[in-house]
Symmetry: C2
DNA sequence: ATTTCTGCAAATGCTTTGCATTGCA
DNA sequence: TGCAATGCAAAGCATTTGCAGAAAT
C-alpha cells in the first residue's frame, strides 16, 4: 500500500506541509467540512495558511483521487477523504452531512457492475455517482418542533 | 386535476405572466436549463424580464412543488418541471443533463417505502433524494477521443 | 385599495486568478 | 538551481437584497 506522499510523488506533485495538513484533517473527520471549515481548523497550527491554498489543495487532492467532493447545495462544497462510493444525508436545517450506511445502493451498483450496463444501454460513460438524501436530522427535528419558523 | 393557476392561487401566490412564462419553458423542455438559460430563452418574448425575477420565480415554483432543483455542481443550478423522482446524468464535458430512465432506483425506493425504513433506522427525516451520474455523454466521448485535452 | 411582484442596481458570498515570493526536489 | 506551490489581493460569477414603481386580487 502506498502512502499519500508516494501517491503524490508518483504523479510529480510536490509534497508540502499544507497539502499534508489538509489531507490529514479530512482523513480524521466524518464531518464533511467545507473549505472554510478546513481553513478555520488549520489556522491555529498554520497561521500563515491562506484560504486560496486550501481551495487549490482540495482541487489537487480531488484530481489525484485522494478525496471526493460533495455538492449538497448550500453554497459551498464539502470534502470527504472516504472515496469509496457511499451515500450522504444532508440536513436542510443545520447543514450537517452524514454518511448513510443503511443505503447500500451504490455499493451494490458497483458489485453488480451496473455501470457497464448503463454504458451499453445509453452510451453514457459514468465515472462517478452521488446519492444525496435531503431532509431533517434527528437533532433538528426535535428542536424545530418547538420553533415557529 | 388543478391547473398551475389554481395551485398558485390556492397558496395566495399571485399569477403573473413572468411566472407562467418561466413555468411554461420548463414544462416544455427536457434540457434542465439554468436560470441564465431560462432568462435568455425568455428575453425575445419578454424584453423587460429581469434576471432577478427568474431567480425569484424558480424559487417560488420550487417551494410550491411545481419544479425541482438540480445541483449538478458546475456552478449554476438547473431546473426541471418533472417533479417525480428520477435520476440524472451530467456530462462533465458539455454540461448537458439528461434523465436516466434506465436507473429505476428512486422509483423503487418510493414504491417500497424505503424512506420510512430510513426514518426508523436513522431518525433522519428525508424529504427528497437526488441521484446523479457524472461522466461523458455519447457525443462528447466521440469528439474527445479526437482532441488532445 | 391593498398587497404582492417586478425590475434595476448594488451587495454578497464562494471561488478563481495573477503575480511576486518561497520552498520542495 | 529550476520549477512548482504559497500567500495575498484583486477579480469573477452566481445569487440575493433593497427599494421604488407596476401589477394582480
Amino acid at each position: 500500500m502506498q502512502t499519500i506522499e508516494e501517491i503524490l510523488r508518483a504523479k510529480k506533485i510536490k509534497v508540502t506541509p499544507q497539502r499534508m495538513a489538509v489531507y490529514s484533517i479530512l482523513k480524521d473527520t466524518k464531518s464533511h467540512p467545507s473549505v472554510e471549515k478546513i481553513y478555520q481548523q488549520l489556522k491555529p497550527n498554520y497561521p500563515a495558511m491562506s484560504l486560496a491554498t486550501v481551495y487549490k489543495t482540495v482541487d489537487v487532492l480531488k484530481k489525484v483521487g485522494l478525496i471526493q467532493e460533495l455538492n449538497v447545495g448550500d453554497g459551498g462544497l464539502r470534502y470527504d477523504a472516504a472515496v469509496k462510493p457511499h451515500s450522504h444525508a444532508y440536513c436542510e436545517s443545520c447543514g450537517r452531512v452524514d454518511d448513510l450506511e443503511q443505503v447500500r445502493f451504490l455499493e451494490e451498483f458497483r458489485e453488480e457492475n451496473l455501470l457497464e450496463k448503463i454504458k451499453k444501454e445509453t452510451g453514457f460513460d459514468v465515472s462517478s455517482i452521488q446519492l444525496y438524501f435531503y431532509g431533517l436530522c434527528p437533532q433538528c427535528k426535535k428542536s424545530n418542533s418547538k420553533v415557529v419558523s
